[in-house]
């Protein structure tokens, strides 16, 4: 049911919208499109659950103290009713560690994204709007970063900065900001030709004013879509670094770290790596589904 083929009178009629939000009645149509996509709803559902779990981790975990406390007499117990996902090499309940680990994964994932966006979006705005030498410089730097696979880049940076959770976050943000810069720059190049930008200039607006007040609100959509896709990716790379022992250091219950430490005990004590790996996998999948759904809802292609 698409209405972009209706006559011009219809357009005027639809403009008198009932839901007058930031996107006006577009929000209703976006929600409708989003709702139709069952898989993205699943993705959204997972993140809702995940956020809930992350917030109430210490209340939900059956053995909250197991975040760090070893119980060596309970080592390597396979999944049972007492320990639903088994115990690890220090006797800690795997389920509890995964639940508590969600806090770390989600918060660090978000922080990484925010860091990348805080650097990338202004860079893209400046690059696109100001143009010239600044644009050339920013894009060349971005090109260099693009040329190295993100995981490898994050790896190198982490190693250089000495491995830790904080440093791996910085490394991932460093590898990620150019994506946002490039997306924003593309949108800005398009938006800056619009009439209202010229109008703002003729009113005497300064460049920063135009960039943040006039242009930015119009480039948010692709940023939001990208962020939802990237959340899973950020968590994945964090986990990868943790897996390699370069991110969060044990005994921090970060999912990747758990999986990495448990790797040596495969295949006999499979439950440690498998379940932590599964958590990573489902989260990344959910992020992709959510991101896809958001993109279809916010940036509809011709059906």
């Amino acid at each position: 049911m698409r209405s972009n083929l209706s006559p011009s009178g219809m357009k005027r009629v639809k403009a008198i919208s009932r839901l007058d939000g930031f996107y006006g009645e577009e929000i209703r149509r976006m929600m409708y499109r989003f709702r139709r996509n069952k898989l993205s709803l699943l993705g959204l559902a997972w993140f809702v659950v995940l956020t809930f779990v992350a917030v109430f981790a210490y209340q939900l975990a059956p053995y909250p103290e197991d975040a760090s406390t070893p119980h060596f007499y309970e080592m390597f117990k396979p999944p049972s009713l007492e320990h639903l996902l088994g115990t690890d090499e220090a006797g800690r309940d795997v389920l509890s560690r995964i639940i508590i680990g969600s806090q770390i994964s989600v918060s660090t994932g978000l922080l990484v994204l925010l860091l990348a966006v805080t650097i990338g979006v202004p860079a893209g705005l400046a690059s696109g709007y100001v143009g010239g030498a600044l644009d050339a410089f920013v894009m060349r730097v971005a090109d260099v970063i693009f040329s190295i696979p993100p995981l490898v880049l994050a790896l190198c940076v982490t190693v250089v900065l000495t491995p830790s959770l904080e440093h791996s976050m910085i490394a991932i943000a460093f590898a990620h900001w150019p994506w946002y810069a490039r997306i924003v720059r593309g949108e800005v190049l398009h938006v800056k030709e619009e009439g209202y930008v010229e109008a703002a200039r003729s009113l005497g607006a300064s460049t920063p004013y135009i960039a943040f007040m006039e242009i930015l609100p119009n480039v948010l959509t692709p940023i939001i879509v990208r962020m939802s896709l990237d959340l899973g990716y950020a968590i994945l790379i964090l986990a990868a670094l943790g897996f390699l022992g370069l991110g969060a250091r044990p005994p921090t219950p970060e999912w990747g770290t758990i999986a990495g430490v448990g790797r040596v005990h495969l295949p006999s004590r499979w439950w440690i790596t498998t379940f932590s790996g599964l958590a990573i996998f489902i989260t990344v999948l959910a992020s992709n589904l959510l991101g896809d759904g958001l993109r279809d809802a916010l940036e509809p292609q011709v059906e």
Partner: protein, 330 residues
């Protein structure tokens, strides 16, 4: 206080045409505005009429420094403004404002009406937040829009209403001079009438001076005091509006007027016989020599039209023409 609010001498705006292998070599020049002199008196409603590509919009924008002129002088209220920069340029902006042709394009779809109208106040740091809201409400009132439109987005407004918001925005800083760039071209005729009435009322109330850019001679007749006909970057005829519709001198003016479709018999009687111009419209990047109109002129005098560019000549009081047909007689 000078009589003319805005005056230009030889205002020119050119654009280089780039070509060559890397797109960097200059292979030509597009002369959008080609040496225009104009005097706009205070409280005057001055109209520039012409067809697309004649340079009228470029002229309007250059005159108030929305575009930077390539050469020439611009005098606004006694000050030469063609080379202003920085703070003084910003102060000029507060005095000269513009209303744009496309109401949908000139309003940011992601900002509310109150922010769109309040933007100039915000940019020039004229008043506090509270005062700003009051002033915006006042402006909405002035353009006959209800105050609950403050929180709406442009998508909820009709074309005429959007244009009113544009007018309100232009009035925010108490300007003296407003360039109206085809303000009603995209509006239906019944809405156009309302917007033009509003503009006339505002002019009396605030003693504004207007520069109206349009291609519609009907609007010129009903709105302006003085009219200039523009062709390929030059003014070819300038006259008081009343006189112009009774006596049009330049062949292009005659063709323009005669080609305008009209609705009533009375209008048909005052119009010249229909002239259908032959030949293609020249591009401003390749302006013919001499008088630019000679390629299509039905009253072409001869070789002189192809070789020499005619100067403006005052044929009657306040009525100037740029045409060889009138040069020798006066």
């Amino acid at each position: 206080m000078t009589e003319n609010l805005l005056q230009t001498k030889g205002l020119t705006k050119t654009y280089p045409i780039k070509g060559g292998l890397l797109g960097t070599k200059r292979i030509g020049t597009l002369r959008a505005v080609d040496g225009v002199d104009v005097e706009i008196r205070r409280k005057q409603k001055y109209a520039i009429v012409g067809e697309s590509g004649c340079g009228k919009t470029t002229f309007g924008k250059s005159a108030i420094r929305v575009l930077d002129p390539s050469s020439g002088e611009i005098w606004f209220d006694g000050t030469e403004i063609s080379k202003l920069r920085g703070e003084s340029l910003k102060r000029l902006r507060a005095m000269c404002q513009m209303v744009y042709q496309d109401p949908s394009g000139s309003l940011n779809p992601r900002r509310r009406v109150k922010d769109i109208i309040g933007a100039p106040l915000h940019i020039h740091r004229v008043c506090s937040q509270v005062e700003q809201r009051e002033r915006v409400k006042e402006l909405l009132n002035l353009v006959e829009l209800p105050s609950d439109y403050l929180y709406r987005y442009p998508s909820a407004l009709s074309g005429g209403e959007k244009q009113r918001v544009g007018v309100a925005r232009a009035l925010a800083l108490h300007p003296k001079f407003i360039v109206l760039d085809e303000p009603t071209s995209s509006l239906d005729v019944s809405v156009q009438a309302k917007v033009l009435r509003l503009l006339k009322r505002l002019q009396t109330e605030f003693e504004l001076t207007y520069l109206l850019i349009t291609h519609d001679l009907g609007v010129v007749r009903n709105f302006s005091d003085r009219v200039a006909v523009m062709y390929l970057g030059k003014f070819v005829e300038m006259a008081p509006t009343e006189t112009f519709f009774g006596l049009h001198l330049h062949p292009y003016s005659k063709a323009l007027l005669s080609a305008t479709p009209v609705v009533s018999d009375q209008e048909r009687r005052i119009m010249p016989k229909r002239i259908t111009l032959t030949g293609e419209v020249p591009s401003p990047s390749n302006i013919p020599d001499g008088c630019g109109f000679h390629t299509r002129c039905p009253e072409k005098k001869g070789d002189i039209c192809e070789k020499k560019r005619p100067d403006l000549v005052e044929v009657r009081a306040d009525h100037l023409v740029r045409c060889h047909l009138y040069l020798n007689k006066y």
